[in-house]
Each structure stands twice: as C-alpha cells, then as structure tokens.
Amino acid sequence: MNMLTDAAVEAVLTEAPKETLKMRGSGVNVFYGEKQALFDVNLDIRENQVTALIGPSGCGKSTFLRCLNRMNDTIDICRVNGEITLDGEDIYDPRIDVVELRARVGMVFQKPNPFPKSIYENVAYGPRIHGLASTKSEFDAIVETSLQKAGLFNEVKDRLHEPGTGLSGGQQQRLCIARAIAVSPEVILMDEPCSALDPIATAKVEELIDELRENYTIVIVTHSMQQAARVSQRTAMFHLGHLVEEGPTDKIFTNPDDKRTQDYITGRFG
C-alpha cells in the first residue's frame, strides 16, 4: 500500500501536467487454464512515453503486454479479467472491435516475423486491409513514410519489391516496426524486440524507439536492464505474476522501493 501511494505522490511531483494517461490496467488477472499467470495488476501507460516491463522470465511480462491488444484472445485456454482501458474505454468490452483495437495498438514481436512477401507488401498490407489508402500513390506514400520513420527507407529504397525475408535480422525487425507504424497506431507494444539482434542492430532499434516516442506511446518488454534504462521513461517490475513496483526509470534503477527490484537489477536473480 505504501508503495502505491509513494508512486502516486511521485507521479504528481515529477511529471509535467502534459502527461496524459493512454492505457490503464486495473485489477488484471490472467489465467492459462487453471494456472494463474497475473495477479491483480494495476498499471498505467502514459502517452508519448516509453514504459519498460522488466522481471525474470516467466513472470508474466509478455502476458500483460498481450492483454493490451487482446492477442491473448487467440489462446484458447487464456482467460482475462479485470479492466484494461484505452483512452478510458474498456478494451475487453464486448462492443469493442478487436480488429480496430489491434490497428490502434500495434505489436512488434520478439523474433522478426516479416511476411514472406516483398518489403513493399509487408508495409502496405495493413493499410490495405483497413482501407487506409486507395490509390497507388497513397500506398507509395504510406510505405515510404513508414519505412522512413522506421529508419529503414534508405537501406531498402532500391529493393522495395524484393522479399522482406531477405533482409538482415535487424532490418527485418525495423521492417516489422514500419509495418506496425503503417496503420497509424497510437500505442506500439514491443516484446523483447532486440533479443534476436546483434549489438549494432540493437543500438539502431533503440535509437528508433527513442525517436518514435514523439508520436507514439510505447510499451516494451526487455530482458536487458541497460536497455530499459536507456530507452524508457517509466519502468514496471514484475515478479511471479505480480507487479512489484512501477515508477520513473531513474528511480527504479537508482532507488527502488522493493527489495525484489533491488535484487533483480543488481543481478541477484533472474
């Protein structure tokens, strides 16, 4: 209890009033069959900030992330209760259109997973199914700006019609980011987006995340403390399905309230 009030006070003290709430999870419990994976998680995601989710493997980071765009719906045995809102609207409300939700809350996965189609098609696919563009020149414009925002355009502009699977791992991951950006999402979820990349590609993606923050709200799961420290403004620490602690990244890394956070960031477990 103490921790929560502290976090609230902290929020009021350290944050400028322009910071608005984008998403909020309150009392989120997730079950895979009989097994409970998340216990009463309350977490706010602020607009135009990068929120990092950290914690040892199996603690439920991905599970929470996948609740935010209802990717868990695709797992038969998965049940979610509690409330998750996007701009104040409950995304688990039966009236919510999942297709629209996933367009507004995009996702980038751990392993780069471009479609086995051309680079152009990879980016144009989302806008096409949602009907965001109709003419060739509109599609061209979306593809170009999305690739540009993902910092990939210069590298691939001469081979837009070659398969996206032929790119290097880091380029593939930025292509996946471009693909997510192309449908103009408000939130981008990233599940360990750099864990399959080499250090140079990782640095590029991290740089990109920092730039994207200007226009998008980002939630990133990461295994690397350094990465969380480098790219995020706020950090949430999970342990065994519980949200242990949440706060500004500086504070979590320098002066955590919870012993478990302290142990985790100093490498005592995980």
Partner: protein, 430 residues
C-alpha cells in the same frame, strides 16, 4: 546402505581380454544391424525390380504393332463419290488382298489370306477415305495392323518352329506372311494405337484412350469435390473448431475413414449415388464421387498438417496489425500451406488413380469401344481396363495388360514426381 565400508571399484582394465572381447561383440552387433537393414532394402528393391522386369518383358511387345502396307483401290464401283461412307469397303479390302496374292484363286484361300489383316481394316480404310474424299477412284497405300496371331508371329511370341498343330497359325498362313515379309511390306512401328484407340474385341486394335479419358474425368470430379471440401473442412477443424469432445470425435472418425477399405466406398456409391440418386452406372461422375469419398480424409489430414506447419509467428504478425481471422487464413496461412496441400492432393489423386475395387462395383468395367464424351457417359478407367484385359483370353491382351500396367505406373510416377518437385520447390521460405 548401512554398510559404511564401500570399497572403491578397481580401475577398469580397458585392455583386458574380456573387455576387448566385449567391445568386439558390440561392434559385431553394430555391423549385423547394418547388414539386416541393407538386406531388407535389397530384398525390397529386388522384388520391385522383378515386378517391373516381368512387366517389361511381357509388356514391351505391346508398344510396337505389326503393320502391313497394303495398296487399296477405292474404285467408284464400290465407293460412290457422292457418299464415300456408304461404300462397300469389305470388297475394297478383299480386292486389295487379292492383289497382294495374285496366285490365290479360290475363295476359301482368299478368306484365309484376309485374316492376316486386322478385322478392323475395313473401318480403317473407310475412315481414311471419308477423311480424304479425293481418294475415290484412286489407288493408295495404307499401313493396316496385322491381326493378333500374325502380330504375335512377327514378334516371335508364336514360334514358327513348333509343329503345326501346336500353334495358332498354319504352315500355309506362315508361308503367306513370309511372302509379305520378303516383299518388305511388314513393319513394326511404335504402337500409337495403344494410346489413341479405345477398347476393342481385337487386341491389335485395342488401346487405352477410353480408359485414360475415363480416369481423367473421374479424377477431375474427385479433385473438384475433395479439394475444396477437404480444404474447407481442414480449415474449420484447424482454425475455428473449439477443442472439445465433439471435435475429437470428428477427428478420430476422419482418421478412421482414411483406413476404410475402398470396396466399402464402392458399395456405398452403388447404394447411394446410383440406386438412391439415380445417377448413371459406369459414369466417371459416380466414379469420381466414390473416389472423392476415399481421398477426402487424406485431403483433410494433409491440409491440416500443412496448416499446422505454418509458424505461429506469421499468424501473430497478421493478427498484430489487425487482420481478421479470415484475412489471416486466406492471405497468409493458406497460401503458405498451399504447396504442402497440393503435394498431398496429388498423392491422394495418385492413390485414387490406382483404385480398382470401387470402380468395379459401380460398373466402370464395361466394354466400350469409344472414349466417354463427358462425365455422364459410360466409361472405364485405367485400373479397370487392366482388369478387363487381364481377363481376356487372346495372347495380344496379355502383353497389352502388362503395357497398360506400365502406363498406369508411368502416370503414378509422374504424379509423385510432380508432388516431390512442388515440395522441394516451395519448401519453407520464411
């Protein structure tokens, strides 16, 4: 574990005679296992080799056909110019035979000599003249098939050195035939008729055209039914069906259906498609429907396996940008699974092509002298044609049976090769 004085084992002596003998036995066992495997493979290949070799030995002669070049005269007396089809071609042929053997004077001997030519010679000459009306009044040379006994004689199947009463051609006939050979009129070109003729009572004229067309129609019907139904069923089971006791039951039954003997499907086809629905007997439509019952379970199983093999990351990628379920399936999963599905389809169709029992039950073993014009016409299929020929007493049909089996095997090998090509060409591109 109450003993506290555990003695440390003596260091193992790797070079002691026992240890070396034991190792030797282990290596010997390795070699034996390898040998058993090798022997089994050799036995399998050997049996296959014997099968193919015996088919080739009996069947190769059916791929050539003894033909005799004969000069025919379509004199206007026998063949009216205004309607060549109505002509008396029997007379044309018999005149031509007379011209071949001017020394023959009595009618009996002439009739014997005519038997050298196939019974179908009249029809062949008639069709030739109808196709070329300008030939009326002309003399032209046409190669007509020799009748079966002389075909066999020429191919050496009938031994000229046997005593006369133990072979099907008399000394006099052999003499006539040898005179033709001496004049260079006998040739044995490739037997295109085997592929372009329909069935016939006379082996020298019988071909597989009817059976090939019948099999083609039946497979077409089978494909048109089992491909879409199989894919749709597999998509439902794999992508939509909830996992519960009912879908488990459906799944178990589909797997069982794949193991049902094909003759049962034939009985079902007879009872339901022909007797209840009143569809025509012997029709490729019914044949294809029966075959599709057999291929459907295979199709469903293969398609499900292909869908399952698409990595979940592709589905997640599509779902993650808001694709709806049908878009994920139709735009991403199905196209990627298609090579696998096609491979399975071709293998399923190849199985159906070789299926005999159900087709016999629905009457696709009729004797038909022209290829079917459509899926409702009576027809035979390749395996049932083999069945019919295998049942015929003439020597010529024995070699044609083997030849037909070789043709069927050729189709099967071709289909499987296409399947393998597809699998290799499109395997895993992500």
């Amino acid at each position: 574990m109450s003993e506290t004085t555990a003695t440390a084992p003596k260091p193992f002596d790797w070079s002691s005679p026992e240890a070396m003998a034991k190792r030797k036995r282990r290596y010997a066992a390795d070699r034996r296992l390898r040998l058993y495997g090798l022997v089994s493979i050799l036995v399998a290949i050997g049996l296959l080799g014997i099968l193919i070799a015996s088919l080739v030995v009996t069947g190769y002669s059916a791929f050539v056909q003894t033909k005799i070049a004969v000069e025919f005269t379509a004199d206007p007396e026998n063949v009216p110019a205004e309607d060549p089809g109505a002509g008396n071609f029997r007379a044309v042929v018999s005149n031509a035979v007379q011209a071949l053997f001017p020394e023959i004077e009595n009618r009996r001997e002439l009739r014997t000599a005519s038997k050298i030519l196939s019974n179908g010679a009249t029809t062949i000459v008639r069709n030739h003249v109808i196709a070329n009306p300008g030939l009326v009044g002309q003399t032209f040379t046409l190669e007509v098939p020799a009748s079966d006994p002389f075909d066999q004689l020429n191919k050496g199947v009938i031994d000229r050195n046997l005593p006369e009463d133990r072979r099907r051609v008399s000394d006099a006939e052999i003499e006539l035939f040898e005179s033709l050979e001496a004049r260079g009129l006998v040739s044995t070109p490739f037997n295109w008729g085997l592929f372009f003729n329909a069935d016939s009572r006379f082996p020298e004229l019988a071909g597989l055209a009817g059976a090939v067309v019948g099999s083609f129609y039946a497979l077409l019907v089978c494909f048109l039914i089992s491909f879409p139904v199989g894919i749709a069923a597999a998509i439902y089971l794999e992508e939509f069906a909830p996992k519960n006791r009912w879908t488990d039951l459906v799944e178990v039954n589909i797997n069982n259906l794949a193991a049902v003997p094909s003759i049962v499907f034939g009985l079902l086809g007879l009872a339901v498609f022909i007797q209840v629905f009143g569809l025509p007997r012997s029709a490729p439509l019914v044949g294809g429907m029966v075959l599709s019952l057999m291929t459907l379970p295979t199709m469903i199983i293969v398609t499900r396996a292909a869908l399952k093999s698409i990595p979940p990351s592709i589905r997640e990628a599509a779902l993650g940008i808001g694709a709806s379920k049908h878009e994920v399936i139709l735009h991403h999963v199905l196209p990627l699974a298609l090579p696998g599905i096609l491979t399975g389809t071709i293998i399923g169709l190849a199985q159906a092509l070789g299926e005999t029992a159900p087709l016999l039950l629905i009457g696709m073993n009729a004797f038909l002298t022209s290829p079917p014009g459509g899926i409702m016409d009576p027809a035979t299929a390749l395996p049932t044609q083999i069945f019919i020929w295998a049942d015929s007493p003439e020597r010529g049909f024995a070699s044609r049976t083997s030849a037909a089996i070789l043709v069927l095997l050729g189709f099967l090998i071709f289909m499987n090769a296409v399947a393998i090509y597809l699998r290799q060409r499109f395997e895993r591109r992500w």
